[in-house]
Amino acid sequence: MPRMQPEEKKLEVEECQQLLQLIVDGQATPEQTIAFQEHICSCKKCDEKFKLDSAIKEAIKKTCGCHQAPQELVSTIQGALQNLR
């Protein structure tokens, strides 16, 4: 009995993490989404992790897409294409 418990708990945590990843990345099924929503009602840890992971994902979207292609790159590509054909 005492040996069983940590293993059970570990499996649960694993499932939580995998589910959380799917939810954060918008790739969970409707059933998985419901299961997760029910779970975070009673699990503060997962609820907090969900909020943090979502905030980081949002921050990446907002601040990491800043390197726009330089103007001349497009014309260079078009020009190189003409030479190719």
Partner: protein, 193 residues
């Protein structure tokens, strides 16, 4: 198997131009951003993107019009980077990690980072903090975060772009996020959180 054996197209010049302009070129900004975050050099990034587009044109008959052009292009870019750029660059090429194992053994790390890093601290990182943290990750970890969070690819698309199983995509992503959080945590501390 069946996918690799898909019917090769035989587009005429007008069709080629239409696909190139209509389906390939709209992704040039995303491609450049990805290339820049792989190479950290404007000229290398430009070369890499141009190379990718030239290859895309050369192999356009193996592209199915109307399918996922962005994933197709990203796959070419990533392969060009590995084969041509990564080789000549001095940065270490291989990160030593046991990904699958890490996924299942990171509970303690998860808990510690989550309790230490606050949501409002992350929301206040509106400058270069997140970008710098992302750039500091090893290239394989950086890549999965860019593809997933920035470009919105699904795990399945990422698996195809990177030629790795979906399980590896997910464990690498999980690990990458933990490493990113670790960086963000130290920024948060220096911001007074």
């Amino acid at each position: 198997m069946t996918e690799a054996a898909e019917v090769r197209k035989n587009y005429n010049d007008v069709e080629k131009q239409r696909i190139f302009d209509g389906e390939f070129m709209p992704h040039v900004d995303s491609m450049y951003n990805f290339a820049y975050r792989l190479t950290f050099d404007e000229d290398d990034a430009k070369d890499l993107v141009q190379d990718t587009y030239m290859k895309a044109f050369r192999f356009i008959n193996s592209f199915q019009e109307g399918t996922n052009a962005k994933a197709w292009l990203f796959r070419i870019l990533k392969n060009s980077f590995i084969n041509e750029y990564r080789k000549k660059s001095k940065q270490p090429t291989k990160v030593d990690y046991q990904e699958v194992e890490t996924f299942y053994n990171s509970d303690d790390v998860d808990e510690k980072i989550t309790t230490d890093l606050r949501v409002d601290a992350v929301q206040d990182m509106i400058g270069d903090e997140v970008s710098n943290a992302l750039n500091s990750l090893a290239v394989d970890f950086r890549t999965v975060i860019i593809l997933c969070d920035l470009e919105g690819f699904t795990y399945e698309e990422m698996a195809k772009i990177l030629d790795i199983p979906i399980g590896t995509v997910r464990s690498r992503l999980h690990r990458a996020r933990n490493l990113l959080k670790d960086k963000l945590k130290s920024y948060a501390q220096s911001m007074g959180y």
